[in-house]
Symmetry: C2
Amino acid sequence: MPITVVGSIAYDSVKTPFGERERMLGGAAVHFALAASFFDEVHVVGPVGADFAEQDLEAMRKRGVDVSDVERVAGGSTFFWRGEYGWDLNTRETLETRLGVFEEFKPKLSERSRASELLFLANIQPDLQREVRAQLPHARFVALDSMNLWIEIARDSLLRAIAEVDCVVLNDAELRQLTGKPNLLSAAREVLSWKPSETALRGPSVIVAKQGEYGASLITRERFFALPAYPLETVIDPTGAGDTFAGGLVGYIAANRARGLSDELLRRAMAHATVLASFNVEEFGTERVQRLAREEIVARLRELRAMTHFSGAP
Amino acid sequence: MPITVVGSIAYDSVKTPFGERERMLGGAAVHFALAASFFDEVHVVGPVGADFAEQDLEAMRKRGVDVSDVERVAGGSTFFWRGEYGWDLNTRETLETRLGVFEEFKPKLSERSRASELLFLANIQPDLQREVRAQLPHARFVALDSMNLWIEIARDSLLRAIAEVDCVVLNDAELRQLTGKPNLLSAAREVLSWKPSETALRGPSVIVAKQGEYGASLITRERFFALPAYPLETVIDPTGAGDTFAGGLVGYIAANRARGLSDELLRRAMAHATVLASFNVEEFGTERVQRLAREEIVARLRELRAMTHFSGAP
């Protein structure tokens, strides 16, 4: 089932203890799309500037991603982010953010992008997320990411946006901040109780708490599932890991959703998400995922399973 | 197979967002022994003062723990710790530490305590750990815990102590600090390379990295295994969770070691450790573990397994 993703298409300048890169291809929608492209058809919606290189569009096309809704704004500049990571890669400092064409972004979705059955609302202003969500009223699975900034300055909009999706993908710190509950399980259950209106039947039914190097947890009304991150001795650049994770998650669900959204399907989706994210951080930006092969995903998935399972008694 | 544990027997005054307790039974050796007592015979070695209540010894005896090597120092005061936890229980401040009888502690092991095949060296000065280690030269499995203080002020002694044990149980932050390696896997592999001498064959072969609310990882030369913490909506007091974890780990190994120290045994030990620690934090101090029943452990272990397993392809 086709997936539409709306979010940033960016140039990132990143410095980590292992090196640096200037203006490499990045952005939430790009990381998401490259990861999801291993599983299903992906349509990317987002703006780029006059400075956006044709070869960077080509990188997405090469992975089968549909970029016809990537809007090139004449005279504009592509979203730009500059950041630097600390010695253990768990802290990062944003040194520069230039919104560029994102400042005036009004999502325009083609007929084709509106026809997708799955939608990922990457981290953008929550009112924009709601506008896009409204254009796909019949989507069968809608997931949303956000960030601390929107929790702080656009909380009401974000709460409304969340109530209108099926799945919320956030860092565990963001879930705590969003709900004011220090306990992850309580925080997730709080979000699971949110509905678009008093009488609405639907509201988020799947919460994914990303925990960086510690992995991720999945909380539904009935079940809890947790997976560690795939252990790596060499992590080069964590930029985009969360969006790559979301791409693996939603991509796997898209490809297997026809059989129903079972707990087992969600768990396998979490495992695929974990594996995709692990490849992403092995090199700068999108470098590793761009040349990733399906067999590598399968092999690492098998390893991840072996690393997390234990036999029953005695 | 019998286990000997050497470490603190303490009174703890603890304040958490959920309440407070004055001078409750605590200490690494106590938490360890209560947890391990569900699996095998445990001998506790450590000093207490004149102020130590008979009922607190009785609490250990009731769980079958041998306290005949608990040395009561006439006129002395029992080790005392006062601490307070932050709102999310992930940070804590030590407000007071009184070493009391620990200041002059020289471990005296009876014939019986020296005959154990398993030894746990709880967090005490590393030279003391080495002295005890030397008194059980034929122990088949020796595990050690430590803390940031000893990494800072007694590093050389600690490195020697570590080289002489089979299993190192540390927080992941401590593993990073100890090795200077920000990557957990690299840090663990560094410790796995340490040997008592150039020509020695033995050295630590099992590293357990405790990760608090995120669970724990097990690293051996060949394999990696990780488990999330058992998710709890109500955590009351994390004091002693790490020692309870170690008690579950070493206790399970003691009871099942006869069939050899396989990877599968270590994994099941990690699962039991996780379950024991989850009970410990549900109430203050040792309250919950003191009245824990074996069936509760078995039931939660089954749940933990269900929360961490996922099926293979498609």
